[in-house]
């Protein structure tokens, strides 16, 4: 008889892929909202307030997202440990670069770098936001002057050059992670099609470069805006 689904190697890789695809969709909307801070600051404030106070987003989608991030991290580390155990004695000479690219072989490194960045990101934005809303009980989204505070808070975080530099490096790692992760997720869920996969791979490459590049641009934009 078969084991419970999800506990086999194929089941685990499918779950890993599904959580990755979920995070890819989340990243797209996060990037779109952040980009509003460059082109339409007022709209950025309004959308941020909506995202931060809408009950469906706060109490349904946000826990799912937090679980998705946590699951992707824990499962990735678990699989990496299993994979290392599968070859207890290493080769004296090995040339992996002749048959695979660096990104595909180092997902655990790029993934851990992204997760380390997320700890900083949570400390910068998420935890203060939770404190303001759920500990201080301030759901207004306003500052002392009676204006939306989101744009101001973001600009404040990106006024620090070291923090911006860390963000830039982290998004380079995210890009490397996505360069393999995007197309790999489709392969893992069983989608490999002669006609569509080449296009999907190109789309994945574009996504993996453009989205992190936009995040970098947003951080640099706010930094230079304050130091010009």
């Amino acid at each position: 008889m078969s084991k419970r689904k999800g506990t086999t190697s194929v089941g685990r890789k499918i779950l890993m892929a599904l959580s990755g695809l979920f995070l890819i969709v989340f990243l797209l909307q996060h990037c779109a909202i952040n980009f509003l801070s460059v082109i339409a600051p007022d709209m950025f404030n309004e959308v941020s307030h909506f995202m931060g106070t809408n009950p469906l987003i706060q109490y349904a989608l946000q826990p799912v997202l937090a679980f998705g991030v946590f699951f992707h991290l824990i499962m990735g580390m678990y699989l990496e440990r299993q994979n290392r155990n599968a070859r207890p004695i290493k080769y004296a000479v090995n040339k992996p670069a002749t048959n695979s690219n660096w990104m595909s072989r180092n997902m655990i490194i790029t993934g851990i770098m992204v997760m380390l960045f997320m700890a900083l990101h949570f400390a910068d934005f998420w935890i203060p936001e939770l404190k303001t809303k759920f500990i201080d009980g301030d759901m207004t989204g306003m500052n002392a002057a009676g204006e939306f505070r989101y744009m101001e808070e973001m600009a404040h975080e990106f006024s620090n050059g070291i923090r911006v530099a860390i963000y830039v490096v982290a998004f380079v790692f995210l890009s490397l992670h996505l360069l393999h992760g995007f197309q790999s997720a489709f392969q893992s869920v069983g989608f490999n099609h002669n006609k569509f996969t080449p296009t999907l791979k190109k789309l994945g490459t574009i996504y993996a470069i453009v989205i992190p590049a936009l995040f970098i641009f947003i951080a640099l934009f706010h930094f230079f805006n304050q130091h010009a």
Partner: protein
Amino acid sequence: MNLTLKIWRQKDSKDKGQMVTYNVTDISEHMSFLEMLDVLNEQLVNTGEEPVAFDHDCREGICGMCSLYINGEAHGPDRGVTTCQLHMRMFNDGDTIFIEPFRAKAFPVIKDLVVDRTAFDRIQQAGGYISVNTSGNTQDANAIPIRKANADLAMDAAECIGCGACVATCKNSSAMLFVGAKVSQYALLPQGRVEAKDRVLNMVNQMDKEGFGNCTNTGACEVECPKGISLTNIARMNREYLSASVKED
């Protein structure tokens, strides 16, 4: 050509093993890699030393018996060939060649360069077959229409000779290209559909029991496979697995 060989020597499965250096001279570029090892072994026998144990059988690239990790690559630096079809012209006079066994927890070393690949046999036994009643009423295979494209894909998957190069080259020692090919060759044919669900679940379970790693889609297996088995077979196995997981008995 004259060569320096650094070969993994291991007395038995319990021995720790080590790399040992040998020199061979007057090797013809037309020799196969295994013939070069035959020359070395003759040399070792003549000097009263234990010859190097390595797997081989057909020496025509179709049996999947030969293995070897040569200079950091499964079946050596050439593409689309097994070690028996790797020719010495791929190397240069004066080269140092590292020769190691296929490394994986599921492929324990028996002696020197010989590894135990019976894990593949057990995976195959778990579902890599079609149950056929052979009591005299067997249906003529040609009586069942099969789409040409599917027949071709099934034949492509069936090209897998089970040599284990996919496992050896995968950074995770994953056997998914092998299992994907075996699942695909039956899943694509009407005769194989009857047992498709049990087959994929049982073969994947057996693969996990053997201690192979997980596939992370690096694609190294496809590049090093001497028979050019495509990654699409792993995707098909994943689809078969997903479908089998949600189907009720």
